[in-house]
Amino acid sequence: MTRALSAVAACGLLGGLIAAGFLRSADAPAGPQPHLRRPVALALTDGGRCLFTANAHSGSISVIDTRTLRPVAEINAGRRLTDLIAVGDDRLAAVDEEAGALLLFRRRGSALEPVGRVAVSPFPVNVQVSPDGARAFVASLWSRRMSVVDLSPPPHILRTIDLPFAPRRQLLLPGGAKLVVADAFGGRLAVVDTALGEVESVRSLPAHNIRGLALAPDGNHLLLAHQMLSPRAASTFDDVHWGNLITNNVRLVSLKAVLDPKADLLSGGYLHYLGEAGRGAGDPAAVAVCPDGKLVVTLAGVGELALGPDHKGGWHRLAVGRGPTAAVVSPDGRRAYVANTFSDSVSVVDLKAGKVAAEVSLGPALAPGPAERGEALFHDARLSHDGWFSCQSCHTDGHTTGLLNDNLTDGSLGTPKRILSLRGAGDTGPWAWNGRMPDLESQVRQSLRSTMQGNKPTEEQVRDLAAFVRALPPPPSLDRLRGRVDEAAVRRGREVFDRQGCAGCHAPPTYTTPQTYRVGLADEAGLAAFNPPSLRGVSQGGPFFHDNRAANLEEVFTRYRHQVKGELTKRELDDLIAFLRDL
């Protein structure tokens, strides 16, 4: 009876907001609009009775009544939502990556009312809110910044903090004085003093693709879900089969060590290895903590959830939807909710039984196109042998972890090379470091078979993956995103670029050419003719060269004198770098 009344009350409220033209209810007579949603974040409110999903593709927020396990509303919130968080019990904050904005909503029951919007640094991907609900911290991917927002009306930017890497996950530590920010591609962690607005320390973990960040049940450790790529293993069948090449991990890092810049970050920590021979656990993503201390880890690449560890260190795994990337645990610890990004659904997991109790569809979906199907395949570790990793594992977000990998793409093993960004790669053929791949489809086939050791893909899969890669834009210029372009320096730098004849190999507009060149480099097998990588978005790359020998662009020209004719003055060098960083 109580449940029925609540539902009626919620519906009444929803009706009012729908009438205002804001909401589109799943229960409304016209029915929810069919579209691709791609949920990527979850927030539970109202004592666990109301679940919200942030949908990346549709820019909407879906509302699920957790008692009836039905979607009760869907709100057009923005263009591309990447994160969502509850602020106290009556507000929600979301970030819109495409609009570059933080969005604020007031919650009434399961309904939302927009109450604020503030522009933040471009490409926001994560939001944290201080315990008192007064401030929000927004991490922005390509602009490598954190925006600190005062949430009191009208919300406004307090300060912007430059970060030394592209961030994705953040975690505000208890008390709110420190914020941990994790690298979106590599393994760096930064600690930000929230009062001073300064980056306090930056350190590296042997990790990449950090997709989960949470506080461990003991309150003394950070939990990270990430992957590791072994520099000693190659993409042979055996190294893939035995999980030697890429591991999927949940790591505990001592909070004390995190906060002490002089401490050994690995000391006092522990690394869980997920997956086993025959059953990889590709692409761990979200990590959530149950009240009893057990962990809930989504395995985004294989469409599973791992629950554990048990008293023998084992993990119980169960199938959920496709691409589970976010998870929350109900306050009573009885349920976990999992956002299945590529199924447009939420799995409801009975934690005591260790079973999926229900899968809630977020509404009718449009049939995905080739690039959208390709995106799902790109994130699917089941394309690799035994599900150890996906394309996303190394080409995170279509970009790169910046690590070296030894695979056959260059025609030999024993010759590890930097993983290339796929962003903007659609029109920069031929492909591979040796330029031997004449078309993108051949490169996709080669990677799936020889690097990922997967089964032979269908031609449709190959076409879809290629379509997805072609749809990836180049990484944007960091300096331009930060508004720090010295136009005069860029102009002069372009002249240096031309004078030096850089365009002979790196010709605009793609800043590459379809040939290979001998530029005084050679790999371990004697390969000396390299396919020049595109320079678009080079400010988001590095280290440089096939073996990462140059730490930054400056080293490319000073230490390694890469095709430098004569001597470059300090100013010429600075101008050239300014030009390159603007591409």
Binding site: P206, M228, S230, P231, R232, A233, F237, D238, D239, H241, W242, G243, N244, T247, L266, S267, G269, Y270, L271, H272, Y273, E276, A277, P309, D310, H311, K312, G313, G314
Partner: protein
């Protein structure tokens, strides 16, 4: 004298072969092509190769020897003029002897290939099947039925010593002691064991049927099985706790675990990670790694590299001196059993992978080594015994153990590697480098930090105990009772001391890392 007249004169010298029944021209060309490929690989990868002509001469001599033909006096001079594949094909076509007696063309080819590699130090050609098996073993994906066989003297037929736990035969119901009376309908009585093994071998996914019975029983059982991968556990525990689980603690009251590394290959690091998860959950704080008579060939150095890296939190593992470069192998910062004291049991019979791991741990002060070294250089063979089974030579000394003289240290250790040849032409086992320890002055073989000898009886008992761990069942009449093992006892004592003293005392040094 120009080369052309010399070649013509040489060809005339081989007129005795003209007119003999030779294999078709394309067969000879194929053999010549594969032989040339062997010389290419050897010249490219061997650390100190001889000349191509020396290899070609060795091959030709072997070929003629197999055909029972005396090589002519000018053979060396003629071969020395061959510099192109075309010349070699023409030469081989001319000299290829007619097949005689029981010898087949394939056997002649094999002699040629073996002969080619003969002049290269520490190298051999492996026929395709051997190469395939070697690859399967070093990567722990041996394909077969998964049984260990012997001949039952009384019944004069093959008997299953043990079916391996994860193999197809075990899953199909084979039991230790089963007599195999038929394989695919063929009676096995009085059939040589090698022949039966041949019948049982086959490709992955292929079916085979065995009829078996227990000795002194008449009831026969028919086992239908599909040949498949037989993954051997390369890490084992202290006592078996169930069909697929181990107790690792030596004493339930002490947080010290025993992990036996049976052999080192591509699977070992993965297994150690699984073990670590279990030990961590059980509150273990220190580990004994038993590497005594741990198998593994040079080719499995990759597995050793993974394991050493997995156990170290940084530092140089070793240096590999190859022909054109010195490759320093470094461990990354991630490691298993972080902060736990480690003790490693070593002996004379470890294969190179185990030896390399022990050296890396010692050189980086990650573990304390306990055991006995008497011989200069232990040699194990990949092709002796069954895959996965440790190569266990008999004890080296008679009677009570005595403190033997320390072996002479050598600065480097030869490293061979198995390199596959194209087009299924087998593989080459080549000397590709020399391994130098991180602390080069220590040399090889590794020496224990604590030398503890075993009596002959103790050594036999320990070996048997370790062998029994692999069996699917504990043999009848035996209890899973660990034998007296002073080396293990010493290691445990050192670890307990390290735990008690924290970071003080000699045994605790490993816990401090480098």
């Amino acid at each position: 004298m120009s080369r052309r007249p010399l070649l013509a004169a040489c060809l005339l010298g081989f007129l005795p072969f003209a007119g003999r029944a030779a294999p078709p021209a394309q067969d000879t060309a194929s053999a010549a092509g594969r032989a040339w490929a062997i010389t290419e690989v050897a010249l490219d990868r061997h650390i100190a190769p001889c000349s191509r002509q020396e290899m070609l001469l060795g091959g030709t001599r072997a070929l003629l020897r197999a055909a029972e033909i005396d090589p002519p006096a000018d053979l060396g001079r003629r071969v020395s003029t061959i510099t192109t594949p075309e010349q070699w094909v023409a030469f081989l076509r001319e000299v290829w002897p007619a097949v005689r007696g029981q010898k087949t063309s394939e056997l002649m080819e094999e002699e040629l290939f073996k002969g080619l590699v003969g002049p290269l130090p520490h190298s051999q050609w492996l026929p395709p099947l051997t190469a395939k098996l070697a690859d399967q073993v070093s990567n722990n994906r041996y394909v077969g039925t998964g049984i260990q066989l012997r001949i039952a003297q009384e019944e004069r037929c093959p008997q299953i010593v043990t079916p391996f736990r994860k193999g197809p035969a075990y899953r199909a119901g084979a039991r230790p002691g089963d007599l195999i009376v038929e394989v695919d309908g063929k009676n096995t009585q009085n059939v040589p064991l090698a022949k039966v093994v041949d019948w049982l071998r086959g490709d992955e996914g292929q079916p085979v049927t065995m009829v078996v019975r227990q000795p002194k029983e008449t009831e026969k059982r028919t086992l239908h099985l599909i040949r498949g991968k037989v993954p051997f556990d390369t890490t084992l525990g202290y006592r078996r706790a169930g069909p697929d689980s181990w107790d690792y603690r030596i004493d339930a009251g002490q947080p010290v675990a025993y992990v036996r590394i049976q052999s080192i290959n591509s699977a070992t690091l993965h297994e150690l990670r699984q073990v670590e998860g279990r030990l961590q959950a059980e509150g273990v704080q220190a580990v004994v790694l038993d590497l005594r008579f741990s198998g593994g060939e040079d080719a499995a150095l990759h597995g050793a590299e993974l394991v050493a890296d997995g156990l170290l939190d940084g530092g140089v593992m070793w240096r590999l001196r190859e022909r054109d470069r010195v490759r320093e192998c470094r461990a990354d910062g991630e490691c298993l059993f972080r902060g736990w004291p480690l003790a490693v049991l070593v002996d004379d019979h470890m294969g190179l992978p185990a030896e390399a791991v022990a050296a890396a741990l010692q050189d980086n002060r990650r573990a304390v080594l306990v055991g006995e070294r008497r011989q200069l250089d232990a040699v194990t063979s990949l092709f002796q015994g069954l895959p996965g089974a440790p190569a266990v030579p008999p004890p080296a000394t008679e009677g009570p153990a005595r403190r033997a003289a320390q072996p002479q240290a050598t600065p480097t250790r030869d490293l061979t590697s198995i390199i596959p040849l194209p087009d299924g032409g087998g593989a080459l086992s080549l000397l590709i480098g020399r391994l130098e320890r991180a602390q080069a002055r220590r040399g090889w073989p590794v020496r224990p930090d604590h030398a503890i000898a075993l009596t002959r009886k103790q050594q036999e008992d320990v070996m048997q105990w370790v062998r029994d761990k692999e069996l699917s069942e504990i043999p009848a009449g035996k209890a899973d009772q660990p034998p007296e093992d002073p080396q293990l006892s010493k290691a445990v004592a050192l670890l307990r001391l390290a735990l008690e003293k924290g970071k003080e005392g000699p045994a605790s040094k490993p816990a401090e890392g480098r």
